[in-house]
């Protein structure tokens, strides 16, 4: 069964990434990714909720009748999000002040309900846990990547205020790339989020196409495989 889990991880991190392939959960994606740290914090919170909701829903899947499943999912997710909200407020209060509104909004994050409906309601607990973790980590990676790009272009820092999120031990992550940077405000505003997401999507597809071509070229050596039309 390890092959299955590897497939689930590949789905979550790359092939079926929440942000870059499913293009879901864009509202928090645009709103919090002004720095890589915010992206990381939001991603970890979402991952926690995804993992917990997948486990709980997979555990209860035989008890929930088909007709009322969506309201039940929403109730379960809302309860978990409330817990996460209070936990972050209590233990990571500085981060809570930054993410503020967006933690309660995880409840309407379509990726959470989406995984509940598409995966956890049909799969055993362990597989659902792996799926929640993989999807969450993929989303976290996307948030961090987007946040990093916007932060570098917008304010020439990387992981600013990381010590607030991760503790003082991670202060070494905070880097300032250009000391007297004047700031590229557009990248920190919502249009910059859409622009950065667009370019990242284009980059991902270009990379995939290149790998595909290379794999095809390896399959048929020496027959002009570079010119073979790609099926995509």
């Amino acid at each position: 069964m390890s092959e299955d889990y590897r497939g689930i991880f590949a789905d979550g991190l790359w092939r079926n990434n929440v942000a870059f392939v499913q293009i879901l959960a864009l509202c928090p994606l645009m709103a919090v990714t002004t720095t890589a740290t915010n992206g990381l914090g939001m991603g970890l919170a979402t991952t926690g909720v995804l993992l917990a909701s997948n486990v709980v829903i997979a555990g209860c899947r035989d008890l929930i009748s088909q007709e009322v499943r969506i309201p039940v999912f929403v109730l379960l997710i809302a309860a978990l999000v409330s817990l996460a909200d209070m936990a972050i407020n209590a233990w990571l209060h500085e981060l809570y002040k930054v993410l503020g509104l967006f933690i309660p909004l995880i409840v309407v994050n379509c990726s959470v309900l989406g995984r509940a409906e598409m995966f956890a309601s049909k799969q055993p607990v362990l597989a659902s846990a792996v799926d929640g973790l993989a999807m969450g980590l993929g989303y976290t990676a996307a948030l961090m990547l987007l946040g990093g790009c916007r932060e570098i272009l917008g304010s020439a820092t990387l992981f600013a205020h990381a010590s607030l999120l991760l503790g003082d031990g991670f202060a070494f992550l905070e880097t300032t790339l250009i000391p007297k940077y004047k700031g590229f405000l557009l990248m920190l505003l919502p249009p910059g989020g859409f622009l950065a997401l667009g370019f990242l999507l284009a980059g991902k597809r270009a990379a995939e196409r290149r790998w595909e071509r290379r794999a095809a070229g390896r399959g048929k050596v020496g027959t002009g495989a570079e010119q073979s039309p790609s099926t995509a």
């Binding site: 004047k182 590229f184 405000l185 557009l186 990248m187 505003l189 667009g198």
Partner: protein
């Protein structure tokens, strides 16, 4: 023997993209040269940097997209975008303003949508808006005119230092544009009767002896270039006339209501980028509606937005914002304002055939 049957359209106009771009470039050249002379070497440096980055961005994107580089690069569209962008920048802005703007205009404003003819927004204005939002300090640094040999003009090396190193003493050279000045003074609860005299004269504004970007100085030269293009039928009168008339009517109306609060039509028509916008930017065939009525709506919408932004908005000048916003409305306008189908009524039914055009029926009990 084979017969070649060409498909429609059978009639071609001789206008090609390079020809139209060339005509527009020629029309905008006098105002450009005048602006460069007015603001000296730094303006020329910025102008060249902007154009070169536009061409470079175009070449890189075409290469990445696997399209032919030479024909598209030489069709003049990227060059024109660069010229229009440079005309809308503060003349002594640092080089990276022009470079970022040029790349943004071509890559985000044009090539991302699929290249020439596909863009939703006017690339030059999109870049100007992006720059203005991102770098408000650099983008609002206006100068008093300082033509060469006037003492205050920087030499060639000094000009290079200004463009590539920064202006040494900003406060000594900068001055407000008329729109910015009016905005600031009105904010301090002064009245137009006190503000305008001494700072504004319609004659100097029309001829171009004012601070501002390269393209907003000489309204007269822009107007001549625009009218020449109109005469060459590069565009029709609908957009510019609708735009200017709307601003004229609004400015005159509000000025009549309260002359101490609202500047008059002469101030509005002869300041800022209104002339440049009306003749060279809003008339972009790609990003403006296709029908005559649509173009009238488009121009009037631009005019309303320009006046609203100038009078009540957060920025003293709003031509770029107005054009970009109306660009966004263009697909909507084109959807609702459609030309009548030939041979049909506006509602789409067949037009009734006039009585005299009907042939008398060949026999009774026919095809009824």
């Amino acid at each position: 023997m084979s017969v070649h049957l060409p498909s429609a359209p059978h009639a071609h106009a001789s206008d090609s993209v390079p020809r139209i771009m060339g005509l527009v470039l020629l029309a905008v050249a006098p105002a450009t040269l005048y602006g460069i002379v007015l603001f000296g070497w730094p303006a020329l440096n910025l102008f060249l940097v902007t154009i070169l980055t536009c061409l470079l961005g175009e070449a890189v994107c075409l290469r990445l997209a696997g399209r032919a580089v030479r024909p598209f690069l030489l069709d003049g569209s990227a060059l024109l975008t660069g010229v229009l962008l440079a005309l809308s920048l503060p003349p002594w802005a640092p080089w990276w303003i022009g470079a970022i703007g040029g790349f943004f205009a071509i890559v985000v404003g044009k090539q991302v949508f699929g290249g020439i003819g596909q863009n939703l927004f006017n690339p030059a204005m999109l870049a100007r808006v992006a720059l203005l939002v991102s770098f408000p300090v650099e983008m609002t640094l206006w100068l008093e005119p300082r033509p060469p040999f006037s003492g205050a003009a920087p030499g060639f090396l000094e000009g290079l230092a200004i463009t590539f190193g920064g202006i040494p003493d900003i406060d000594a050279v900068s001055g407000a544009t008329i729109l910015g000045h009016v905005r600031t003074e009105l904010g301090m609860a002064r009245e137009l009767g006190q503000i305008l005299p001494g700072h504004y004269g319609a004659g100097t504004a029309a001829l171009g002896w004012t601070g501002g970007s390269l393209g907003e100085t000489s309204d007269l030269l822009i107007l001549i270039g625009g009218l020449w293009l109109l005469w060459r039928r590069v565009f029709t009168w609908h957009v510019p006339v609708a735009l200017l008339a709307t601003v004229l009517v609004l400015a005159a109306g509000f000025n009549w209501l309260n002359p101490e609060r609202f500047a008059g039509p002469a101030v509005h028509l002869l300041s800022g980028g209104l002339m440049l916008g009306a003749f060279f930017i809003a008339t972009d065939p790609v990003t403006s509606p296709t029908t005559k009525l649509g173009q009238l709506i488009f121009g009037a919408g631009c005019g309303v937005l320009v006046y609203v932004i100038r009078t009540w908005g957060g920025y003293p000048e709003g031509v770029a914002f107005a054009v970009v916003l109306m660009n966004a409305a263009t697909p909507l306008i084109d959807h609702y304002v459609r030309p009548r189908i030939y041979g049909r009524t506006w509602r789409g039914q067949s037009r009734p055939v006039p009585e005299r055009a009907r042939r008398p029926p060949a026999g009774s009990g026919g095809t009824e």
